[in-house]
Symmetry: D3
Subunit: 136 residues, 6 copies
């Protein structure tokens, strides 16, 4: 019996969407208000989902305490109250769109999840905009 | 890397569930309170999800501004503050159940989304009742 | 020790904002899209709050089961799946704005609440627009 | 055209996570605070989703009133205001983790859903921890 | 300039509503399902609000980190994953209704809040039932 | 009959909490992670509430369309996708704590609201931290 276990977390961060190799005009045309050179920010809400067989002994797929601690150590401590462009190495050459942030989070967590389990990351940039990455 | 990008929107509308070719009794038996001849209404909450490859240049699957504008032009302007049965041509001969509304919205938006991307529509008729259509 | 006890409820209804003694032009100018002659509708979310002394014997200000039943009998059964303009006598000569609906609900419930307790009604017309009436 | 219809419900219950065949120390090590011998509890929020073809005559996949009544009779009446360990027979020899509760609910409802329809159960143990079971 | 600063927190607990000096029949008549001798439980959501002057030097009324730590130490550690009737001394002779729990929390926190500031506690027993105590 | 009418809005912004006249050490001690020199950010959710008599002719205290437009013009356009410290003149010499932001918003809106009506501003910095200012 395969069950998906999901855990919510959150972090607050600043970011700016732009490409150094584009002109300000082109960045404005593509990224609009998100290209403010002084940055803007979000309360990112994160849902991490792990799918696998129920362990018959414990009744758990994964202990949500363990999942919560993984998210805290590898995502919240790295991203919370940070400027994603300036403070987080993964985005030095990668635009911190919601799509790219979700992929980075998935890659950071994947190594800690058993290979026979599936991992999915949903990231809310705002309550109205969100993305999901399943490693496909 | 395929990511799903979702955007929330909303519209308020009146509707009535009934078939003209059925008696009032049969309509009451099947549709209950939803068959009120004077209509009732809902705050419909809509989630439109587009799945596709991340564009390496922009970091976007689809710009949520573009997605938001498509929803505004083709869904909100057509449905908001309307009587679905009387004001919206698609429902002149189609019962405006949540299921059918979701299919109509999916069909209206599908033509504007790249064919190599998948489209999914989730429609909340109330905070407790909702439907999802994936074009399958 | 005075405590406020609140109970959430909800009903779905159609309505139209307009005055019969005004021209269509004036109604459009004042009420905009809400003047659609074919009606539109909402999922109304309701919070009813009662403030009073804690009963030392039961630890209750008011049993939420009793409060919930009062709301069901006097508000939900009267308004749910109804057209407020056509089906609800209170609005035959009163525009069903959120403000007026809140006052009508407060008046309907006030007679069933002990006079030494205060009553407050908050009504969400949408998740973004809501009103509060305290009988003042 | 296949659509997924979802209905939310809820129940409040007490539970304790532990194995009678383990020592208190081992139960504490695995289940932590959830092993409190005096129990703790949750407001469980439940989403039951049924996927199938739209009935052309009614526009429904499944009448949400019927789905809501099934949940009320077979889940809410069995679990609400209960101690899952002591009052619910299914958990006399099964640890009431969120995973196991979701599987039990799925099994209870599956027999009432047409075989040509799919069933999915999502159970929120808290607003931050939830699980999903699809019968796979 | 007086501002109210609010902080949300939460704890999960089991409880039972009954009086030892009443018969089972009377307890059932007054407390209904909440009198289950095996207990039931809730995810309690808590909002603690402090009102006072803005400190001109820091721009804070109260640092939410300090407020959050006070709630963690004096409420969450005392109540989370506990049986309120059996594990929490304050309720050995006090029925743990939402009203009484809110008063107990207010009294526990009041001593740590400056006397020139006001304190308000709102406690959600479920997403539909909640209470507010202001020390009046 | 006095009713409170409330309207929700939102804006996304970056900010930093610090005093130029304090050392980095003192800023860290008082503002912690919020003193990141590279900024962090939030999705601010705003509720603006206006209390006054119901206009007998329209049934409105204030047209929520007018209230929504005021918020859009004077708050969202000034703050959305901005760095509060660098882009918003009001905060050049005022720390952009939630308390101070709420006061600034209240002052910006007060001049557009009839003097016989009361104004209240609630600002969510995160879903867990929020402040309320009533002009007192």
């Amino acid at each position: 019996m395969k069950v998906t276990v999901s855990r919510k977390a959150h972090f607050n961060a600043a970011h700016r969407l732009y490409r150094k190799d584009w002109s300000m005009e082109k960045n404005d045309a593509v990224f609009g208000k998100c290209n403010n050179p002084n940055f803007h920010g979000h309360n990112y809400e994160l849902i991490v989902s792990v799918t696998g067989e129920i362990d018959k002994e414990t009744g758990y797929v994964i202990d949500t305490k363990i999942l919560s601690d993984l998210i805290k150590e590898h995502v919240e401590e790295a991203f919370d109250h940070k400027n994603l462009n300036l403070d987080v190495p993964e985005f030095l050459n990668l635009i911190p769109t919601a799509e790219n942030i979700a992929v980075v989070i998935w890659n950071k967590l994947r190594v800690f999840i058993d290979l026979n389990k599936d991992l999915e990351v949903t990231l809310y940039e705002t309550p109205r905009n969100f993305v999901t990455y399943r490693g496909e």
